[in-house]
Symmetry: C2
Subunit: 337 residues, 2 copies
């Protein structure tokens, strides 16, 4: 069985997009349910997803375990896995790690561009690594099976997360900085360490992470993917498109500034190009993932590696990451549900 | 397999009480996790339980399905099932019904003594039955598998809940008013209707619900149980002791007045006896449940009926009540987890 998994999307969800997922044969997607939200606001977002699950049981359902990817594949649906791009959803309360895991959260970034209570963001001047609470929360995330995601964190914080986490971490959506230098992309050293720790890199198709931006060619991107496989390892690379389909530009403003500033922050953009950048012409929606598979084969990756990058590697990572860390067999099965 | 289940307790929980549960052979308990709490406050209470589950995995674990009662019995532990005595935990937000069910809530009272957003309480002058939101929430509770509990609701509201709920409801802790007239106890007509609808009555050992109060004898209580079996049916009666072990009197003040009044409300008590009443001498803690079994046999109930009242009936009710109402087989198994 060859599965197709996207490791990060934040679309303006609709039945139309769910149907495109089916048309594209997407078995599972890690979706962002919170950027700057408090716990209660995050729960409101979960409630919105519950409405979609109830309305479209033939298209989507909530994914909780790696087995749900198989179930999705076998029943012709897409399993939706929740993640947060910021730890604001746990507020200052470590007990919310387990509560949100029970509600299905499977990835949580320790920071989003800025300093958080847990770690430094990639746009801070000084990256001071994991905070005291950060180290405590990483241990708790390890315990319950909530994956540490360092996509928007700084270099030192990411390194410390790799080192301190007792379970493999993920960078769900970023590319090698050696291909395209951007604060959001990651150094070769970091990517090697990620792979040595059993972690996963999801390759981004978001123009600000791409060489030549929106003009990046599929061939260039797939050559980069081959290089990433060399850096992280053939079992450590997947897709994480960062697709923000059908979103108005007000959403990228919210992503960048939340409630933390009254001024404009362009993040990866600029005053000349403040909104969402146009996607590369080879990736507009979920139906275009098949083209990426073809591009990877054309770039010289063997079929087994391509199957891994397109979903097999995320599937294996989901299988080993979402259950409780150490418990009696009975408890393990409970936690893995 | 004969299981032992208490349908309602609200103790000042401690390792000591968990050990008494084991000494008493209690396989499952429905515990109150909220009286007047908001959603966020209820989640804090869940976090406190998560700490206990983590600290005492050899004694207790969180129960979610009827199968967890069997697991508890087989592994020598007590399964803890969550319930709320008030719908304050869902605030004004019907989406929280599913969210709290996912977090393990299995019972929710539609009101607690007073009028709520959903129904009237048993101490209001006028019982106006289910509200508009009450009818909507009952349908949602039916859908996800959250049991309607009318222990503290008024007669008309309870009757309407029985009639409108498409799944059997519960009165987890009350007795027949024909045995001891109290606003908290239920009329014979209501108990017959409860049983005809497949519902469950949990018999209370709380002195204010007992003939002669704290002086009530075990024989009198067991004769009442036999009468309850006649009213509700042999498969519709269980135990719901309402045990509030080791609680200070400040807790009964909180139960009665929460934040809704600045004056004193004695509830079932009085100015002369404002605190928790002394328990009857035959029921102080979980180790005394065995004595109730003996009393029921002495009262002339046959062994199969006694096994049902002591836990078998709750177990069967748990098995049919906690999963999603109607869904594809795959969804059912998901929801039942």
């Amino acid at each position: 069985m060859s599965v197709l998994i996207d490791g990060l999307q934040y679309a303006n969800w609709s039945e139309g997009i769910f149907r495109q997922m089916r048309a594209g044969g997407v078995d599972a997607v890690h979706v962002t349910i919170a950027y700057h939200e408090t716990f209660r606001e995050t729960v409101l977002n979960i409630e919105r997803w519950n409405r979609w699950f109830e309305a479209h049981p033939d298209l989507i359902f909530q994914g909780r375990t790696g087995a749900d990817v198989t179930l999705a594949h076998e029943t012709g649906r897409t399993a939706i896995f929740f993640g947060s791009q910021n730890p604001s959803c746990i507020e200052d309360d470590i007990g919310l790690v387990e509560v949100l895991h029970t509600l299905g959260l499977r990835f949580m970034q320790l920071s989003y561009n800025n300093q958080s209570l847990l770690a430094s963001g990639c746009y801070e001047n000084d990256d001071t690594g994991l905070t005291r609470m950060g180290r405590a929360v990483v241990a708790e995330m390890n315990r319950v099976g909530l994956v540490v995601d360092m996509s928007h964190s700084g270099e030192r914080s990411t390194r410390e997360a790799i080192d301190q986490s007792t379970r493999p971490i993920a960078i769900t959506h970023a590319n090698p900085a050696s291909w395209h230098p951007a604060l959001r992309n990651k150094s070769d050293d970091l990517l090697r360490a990620l792979g040595e720790g059993g972690g996963m890199l999801g390759l981004s198709a978001y123009p600000h992470h791409l060489l030549s931006g929106s003009a990046c060619t599929l061939q260039s991107w797939c050559d980069m993917a081959a290089r990433a496989v060399d850096l992280v390892g053939p079992e450590g690379v997947g897709i994480g498109t960062d697709l923000c389909q059908d979103q108005p530009d007000s959403i990228v403003d919210w992503m960048r500034t939340g409630r933390w500033t009254k001024t404009v922050d362009y993040g990866e953009g600029s005053a000349e190009a403040p909104g969402f950048p146009p996607m590369p012409d080879w990736f507009h929606d979920n139906r275009d993932l098949a083209g990426i598979r073809g591009g990877l084969l054309a770039a010289g990756l063997d079929r087994a590696t391509v199957d891994g990058v397109m979903g097999g590697n995320w599937h294996a990572f989901f299988n080993r990451s979402f259950g409780a860390q150490s418990a009696s067999p009975g408890m393990q099965s409970r936690a893995a549900e």
